[in-house]
């Protein structure tokens, strides 16, 4: 089968698995989320009609008499229409609206930070791996300290040092609250200032992995015959480093993007909580503490969708830059 087709079908299966997990989790676990949710809704002075009850029961399971496969089918139909229910904690906003307003914050923050970390880590890794045995190389094991630090704790330390003691950055939030969100210079400057610390946290915590992976691949690549040939041909070291060694060594880093992205997203969910960042991670945690199950499931679906989409993109790109993957298929 064609490489691209194979990748597309894999991600279709992964998407289906995520949707099914989302359907199964509330039905398999103890507790009755529908009742809790409806009770909350009633507290807000909302009349609970049988229709609302049925809609939530479809999403979360519970007391419907329909067989499971009918529930499953209706659940998929509701999702296809983009109907994720009504959020209880942001009543009467729809779950999809709540998510759509917070999604850009996270996508920009995590996206920019991940790209910076990956580019910096791969570049540094290439340089360190190119000249093994220098003082830089002996510093490598100390990067494990950064990788072993919990994201949110690093965030706490950074907030304490840079925001509280030195006062360089705001303590928390996503932008100066006196400004109204929009595409003007003042607001963007404020968003960058507020986003700097969360981004720094993500970069610091994830750069070690990129650096180490690239450095190890460089070491392996340098012992390949074609490097020796290139040296024997009298090519300049810079050309060998750029066009021969790094190009081949970077492939596993690109392929490993999938795994790292999952970790980064996981880490950023809690980091957002530390900074009270208006992103999707903060919404997820808010939903959990408020028993807002509909929002919880919606956020999980969106995060999964975003991660799957990014991975698909990277995989397709990988097929372009490494012809071997296409040949094997």
């Amino acid at each position: 089968m064609n490489y691209f087709l194979r990748k597309l079908s894999f991600y279709a299966v992964a998407l289906w698995a995520a949707l099914t997990l989302n359907f199964a989790i509330p039905r398999l676990l103890p507790g009755n989320p529908v009742d809790i949710l409806l009770a909350k809704l009633q507290q807000r002075g909302e009349a609970v009609t049988p229709e609302t009850r049925k809609a939530y029961a479809l999403l979360l399971g519970g007391d419907t008499s329909d067989p499971l496969w009918v529930q499953y089918w209706d659940y998929l139909k509701n999702l296809a229409r983009g109907d994720l229910g009504v959020s209880v904690s942001y009543y009467p906003a729809k779950v999809s609206d709540v998510i759509l307003t917070s999604l850009p914050w996270t996508v920009v923050l995590v996206g920019v930070a991940t790209i910076i970390a990956a580019v910096l880590g791969v570049l540094l890794g290439a340089i360190v791996g190119w000249r093994p045995g220098t003082w830089l190389d002996s510093l490598i094991p100390s990067t494990t300290l950064l990788a072993a630090v919990p994201y949110f704790w690093l965030a706490l330390i950074l907030v304490y040092l840079l925001a509280r003691v030195l006062g360089w950055f705001p303590l928390q939030g996503g932008y100066d609250v006196v400004l109204t969100p929009g595409w003007n210079g003042e607001f963007i400057a404020s968003a960058i200032q507020y986003g700097f610390l969360p981004a720094l946290t993500i970069v610091l915590a994830s750069i070690g992995g990129w650096l180490l992976g690239m450095r190890n691949m460089m070491v392996s690549t340098l012992s390949e015959d074609y490097i020796l040939t290139a040296e024997a041909k009298g090519l300049s070291p810079r050309k060998i480093l750029r066009s021969y060694a790094s190009r081949n060594a970077v492939l596993p880093s690109v392929a490993g993007f999938a795994i790292s992205l999952g970790f980064v997203v996981s880490g950023s969910v809690i980091t957002e909580q530390v900074f009270s960042y208006p992103g999707i991670g903060g919404r997820l945690l808010g939903a959990v503490t408020n028993n807002d199950y509909a929002l919880m499931q919606g956020v999980f679906l969106f995060i999964t969708l975003a991660v799957l989409g990014a991975n698909l993109l990277v995989d397709l790109l990988y097929g372009l830059i490494d012809p071997r993957t296409r040949a094997r298929a």
């Binding site: 494990t144 304490y160 969910v269 999964t304 991975n311």
Partner: protein, 337 residues
């Protein structure tokens, strides 16, 4: 063959010339990492923290005892100061370390068993089962773990959220990456001649896996286990920090949770929130350093590189000494003249 422990639990005791079964051991010794300064630091960190978690809870007072000296900085009486309600931070740290190590070990074992099953068994059987297991593994790999864990913990009512629930949830969401590594390694081991020989001689599949394949994968499994423990401790800390950890458990994450809720950050009580995170970071670093050395066993290229580098350094030093010596003799001759 059965009395040998995995490489990571055995402290390296290379320099033991009195070992009676020297020829039998030498094969196994290649599975043990060489002692390097980094490995020594790693083992010291891991050993020290494990000892702290085991012994310190017996020596410190009650971590929950409330005193009227709230938020005092470190002093002779309370080495790590007190919390907002006057609880001894050191005592809390001791019990929390024990709790975190417990859950790390539990999840590490569970996740390693899961990944070994899906990775090794799938790769060994091949064909349809392998495809199915690989697909399953890859799907779990791309679904982001922590959000899934948060959703699952959010649905489980607080009272039924015990230690085992959290451990199982963390293990179920965290095994996929190592299953893929084990899968790749098994594929290469499976094609060796001695595996084919034992298959031809009619050994049952489980025996081929346990006796022929597994010993060759021990370093890889050990390194994946170490990763799983780090990931578990980090994951549990994150969960507890947002208040979704096991109920009435005391881990480093719950300590951070209480520190955050007690406004340790805005009150500047660094002695409250720095130690738990530092403990996690140091333990993780120690384990990663141990893993570095295990990596050298798996990928001898790295080890050769290190030895090569050391030889190069020694040669460089010798050269420099020689140059200095010849310069000195030249200088002596100069003055003699």
């Amino acid at each position: 063959m059965t009395n040998l422990k995995p490489a990571n639990t055995t402290p390296v005791a290379d320099a033991d010339p009195a070992a009676p079964a020297a020829p039998a051991r030498s094969g196994w010794r290649s599975l043990l990492p060489t002692m390097t300064p980094w490995l020594a630091i790693g083992l010291a960190l891991v050993g020290g923290i494990v000892l702290f978690g085991l012994i310190a809870p017996l020596l410190v007072g009650d971590p929950r005892q409330i005193r009227d000296q709230g938020l005092t900085p470190p002093s002779a009486e309370f080495w790590l100061g007190t919390t907002q309600t006057g609880q001894d931070v050191l005592a809390q740290l001791a019990f929390a370390t024990r709790g975190s190590l417990q859950i790390g070990l539990l999840v590490g074992v569970l996740a390693t068993v899961l990944s070994a099953f899906f990775g090794i068994y799938g790769a060994y059987r091949g064909k349809f089962l392998d495809d199915a297991f690989s697909l399953f593994t890859n799907v779990f790999l791309v679904i982001p773990g922590l959000p899934l864990v948060i959703v699952i913990s959010g649905f489980v009512p607080r009272e039924s959220r015990g230690l085992w629930t959290i451990a199982v949830v963390l293990a179920v969401t965290g095994w996929a990456a190592s299953a893929r590594v084990l899968h790749a390694q098994t594929l290469s081991v499976r094609q060796r001649d001695y595996v084919a020989a034992s298959q031809v001689s009619g050994e049952r599949p489980w025996r081929v896996i346990v006796v022929e394949i597994l010993p060759n994968l021990l370093p890889v499994i050990a390194s994946q286990f170490v990763f799983a423990v780090i990931a578990a401790i980090l994951g549990e800390a994150g969960l507890s920090y947002i208040g979704l950890g096991a109920s009435n458990s005391a881990t480093l994450g719950t300590m951070l949770f209480y520190a955050q809720n007690g406004f340790a950050l805005s009150l500047g009580a660094w002695w409250w929130f720095v130690p738990p995170g530092l403990m996690i970071a140091l333990f993780g670093t120690g384990l990663s350093l141990v893993n570095f050395s295990i990596d050298e066993v798996i990928n001898p290229k790295l080890k050769n590189l290190r030895q090569h580098r050391r030889r190069a350094r020694r040669a460089l030093r010798l050269e420099r000494e020689l140059a200095r010596a010849s310069r000195r003799t030249a200088a002596v001759k100069e003055t003699d003249r």
